[in-house]
C-alpha cells in the first residue's frame, strides 16, 4: 500500500531523514513513535510529498509519487487524507463548508457534494454542527471535522500527525474510536504519528520506532483497545486521591 525506498531528507544541510525504507500494508494501523525531533512528522509528510525527498522513492497505492508530474501528484493526494495536531481547519468557513471544499477540490459530482459532506459529518457525529464555525467548537469536535474533511473523497490512506496530542484523555479516546472505525468499517489504511505510548498501543497493529532520522525497528503488536477514561469531576477527584492522601 505504502512503500518508502531509501528516502532521505535534510533541511539546510542537516540530515533529518536518513535513507529510510519502510512498507505499510493495506488495512494496517501503522504507528510511528520516537523522541521529539526524531523526524516522525517529516517522515509522515514525505508519504504525501508535503516534503519532497532529496533522494529515494515514495509509492502509495501503486502510484510512484516521486515520479509524477505536479498535476498527477495533486490528483493522487486527493485519495490520501491527512489530519494534524492543530486541526488546520479554515476558521472563516463553517463546519459544512470545510468538508465541502475537499469535495470541490476533488471535482466530486456537483449534485452529490451536499449529500456526501453531510454523510461524512454524520460519520463523525457532527451533522448538527454544520452551520457552526470552528471557533465555536471544542478541540475534539474540531478534530472530528478535520477527519470528516479528510474522509470526504473516499481516501484509501489516512495520515495522522499527532491527532490527539492537544486533546484531553477522554477526547483522545473518542478520536481513537473514530480512527479505528474508519480503519475497520471503511478499510482505510492509517499511519499514526504520536509520541504518546498509550495512543500507539491502543489501536496500532504495527509500529515503527524512530530515532535521529532512522528507523530503529518495525514490528507487529496486538492493539490493546481503547481504554474508556472517565472525565467526570467525581472520577478526577478519585484518581487524584488514589496517588496520595488529600491535604486537609
Amino acid at each position: 500500500m505504502i512503500s518508502l525506498h531509501n528516502v532521505s531528507k535534510s533541511f539546510s544541510g542537516v540530515p533529518v531523514i536518513q535513507s529510510i525504507s519502510l512498507s505499510i500494508a493495506q488495512g494496517d494501523i501503522h504507528g510511528i513513535i520516537g523522541a521529539s525531533g526524531a523526524g516522525k512528522s517529516t517522515l509522515l509528510r514525505l508519504i504525501n510529498l508535503l516534503e519532497t525527498p532529496d533522494s529515494g522513492t515514495v509509492e502509495v497505492s501503486g502510484h510512484k509519487l516521486t515520479a509524477l508530474t505536479n498535476k498527477q501528484l495533486r490528483q493522487t493526494r486527493k485519495s490520501i487524507g491527512m489530519i494534524f495536531q492543530h486541526f488546520n481547519l479554515v476558521a472563516n468557513k463553517t463546519v459544512y463548508e470545510n468538508v465541502l471544499v475537499a469535495l470541490e477540490l476533488a471535482k466530486y459530482p456537483k449534485g452529490e457534494r451536499r449529500k456526501r459532506a453531510l454523510e461524512c459529518l454524520r460519520f463523525v457525529g457532527l451533522e448538527h454542527f454544520q452551520t457552526k464555525y470552528p471557533a465555536q467548537l471544542s478541540g475534539g469536535q474540531k478534530q472530528r471535522v478535520a477527519i470528516a474533511r479528510a474522509l470526504a473523497n473516499h481516501p484509501n490512506v489516512l495520515l495522522c500527525d499527532e491527532p490527539t496530542s492537544s486533546l484531553d484523555p477522554h477526547t483522545t479516546a473518542e478520536i481513537l474510536t473514530v480512527l479505528t472505525d474508519i480503519n475497520q468499517r471503511l478499510g482505510v489504511t492509517i499511519v499514526l504519528v504520536s509520541h504518546e505510548m498509550k495512543v500507539i498501543k491502543s489501536i496500532c497493529n504495527r509500529v515503527t520506532v524512530m530515532t535521529e532520522g532512522t528507523v530503529h525497528d518495525t514490528f507487529s503488536i496486538t492493539p490493546k483497545g481503547i481504554q474508556e477514561t472517565e472525565s467526570s469531576a467525581g472520577h478526577l477527584v478519585e484518581q487524584l486521591m488514589d496517588d496520595g492522601d488529600r491535604d486537609a
Binding site: 504525501n48 508535503l50 495533486r74 490528483q75 493522487t76 493526494r77 486527493k78 490520501i80 491527512m82 494534524f84 492543530h86 486541526f87 488546520n88 481547519l89 479554515v90 476558521a91 472563516n92 468557513k93 471544499v101 475537499a102 470541490e104 477540490l105 476533488a106 464555525y133 471557533a135 478535520a146 474533511r149 473523497n153 495520515l159
Partner: protein, 225 residues
C-alpha cells in the same frame, strides 16, 4: 421648523465644490480599482514566493519586491513628475484628472500589495498545508483558502490604503488633477478664504471617518475566527 443655513461661501462655490468632489472620487476610485485588480495579485505573489513558502521562488520575489520598494521610496510628488512621460504615453496627456490617475494607480498598487502581503502572512501555515495535502493547486490554495482566511485583514488593509489614496490625491493639483485638496489650496489658501479651506478639511474628515467606519465594520462582520 428650523432651517440650518448653508454658509454663504459654500453656496457661492457650489458648482466648483461638487466638481472637486467628483474629481476626488474619480482619482480615488481608479486607485481602488488598481489596488484590487493589480495590487492584490502583486501582494499575493510577494507572499507565495517568499522564502519558506510552498511556492517559493526567489527570482520572482526579488524582482517584485524591488519594484514595490522603489515605487514606495519616491517622495510622491517626485513620482508624479518622474512618471509624466509614461503618463503621456498612456493617456495622451500629462495634465488633468485622467492623467492624475496614472501615478495614483502606481502608488496604489505598491501600497496595497504590501498590506496584502502582511494580511496573508497572518494565515496559519497549517491551513495552506491542509489545502496542499487535499490536492489543491496554487490557484485553489489562494482563492479557496488564503483569501477566505485573510479576508478581514485584506479589507482592513484596503481601508487603510483608500485613506492614503485620498491623501495622495490632494496634491494632484500639480498636474491639474483637481480634487478637494486642490480646491482647498487654490480657493481657500491662495485666495485667503480661510473658512472655505476649513470646510474642505471638514469634508475630508467626514469622508475618512465614513471609510474607516465602513471598513472596520465590514472586516469585523466577515471575521469568524
Amino acid at each position: 421648523m428650523t432651517v440650518i443655513a448653508m454658509p454663504e461661501v459654500l453656496i457661492q462655490y457650489q458648482a466648483e465644490i461638487w466638481q472637486a468632489i467628483g474629481e476626488t472620487f474619480i482619482m480615488v476610485g481608479v486607485s481602488i480599482l488598481a489596488a484590487i485588480l493589480i495590487g492584490l495579485p502583486v501582494g499575493t505573489v510577494l507572499f507565495i514566493c517568499r522564502r519558506g513558502q510552498a511556492f517559493e521562488n526567489q527570482t520572482v520575489f526579488s524582482v517584485v519586491n524591488l519594484f514595490v520598494n522603489v515605487i514606495r521610496s519616491f517622495p510622491f510628488l517626485l513620482l508624479v513628475v518622474f512618471l509624466i512621460p509614461f503618463t503621456r504615453l498612456l493617456i495622451g496627456t500629462a495634465i488633468g484628472t485622467a492623467a492624475a490617475t496614472v501615478p495614483l494607480s502606481i502608488i496604489a498598487i505598491a501600497h496595497y500589495s504590501r498590506l496584502v502581503e502582511q494580511a496573508l502572512l497572518d494565515v496559519p501555515k497549517g491551513v495552506m498545508e491542509a489545502a496542499i495535502s487535499m490536492g489543491a493547486s496554487m490557484k485553489e490554495v489562494i482563492i479557496k483558502f488564503l483569501y477566505v482566511e485573510a479576508r478581514s485583514g485584506l479589507v482592513l488593509g484596503l481601508t487603510t490604503s483608500i485613506i492614503s489614496f485620498i491623501s495622495y490625491s490632494t496634491i494632484m493639483g500639480v498636474v491639474g488633477g483637481g480634487g478637494i485638496g486642490d480646491f482647498a489650496i487654490r480657493y481657500g489658501y491662495q485666495q485667503f478664504k480661510t473658512d472655505l479651506m476649513v470646510y474642505m478639511i471638514v469634508i475630508m474628515i467626514i469622508l475618512v471617518q465614513l471609510i474607516q467606519f465602513t471598513g472596520t465594520s465590514v472586516s469585523r462582520w466577515i471575521d469568524k475566527r
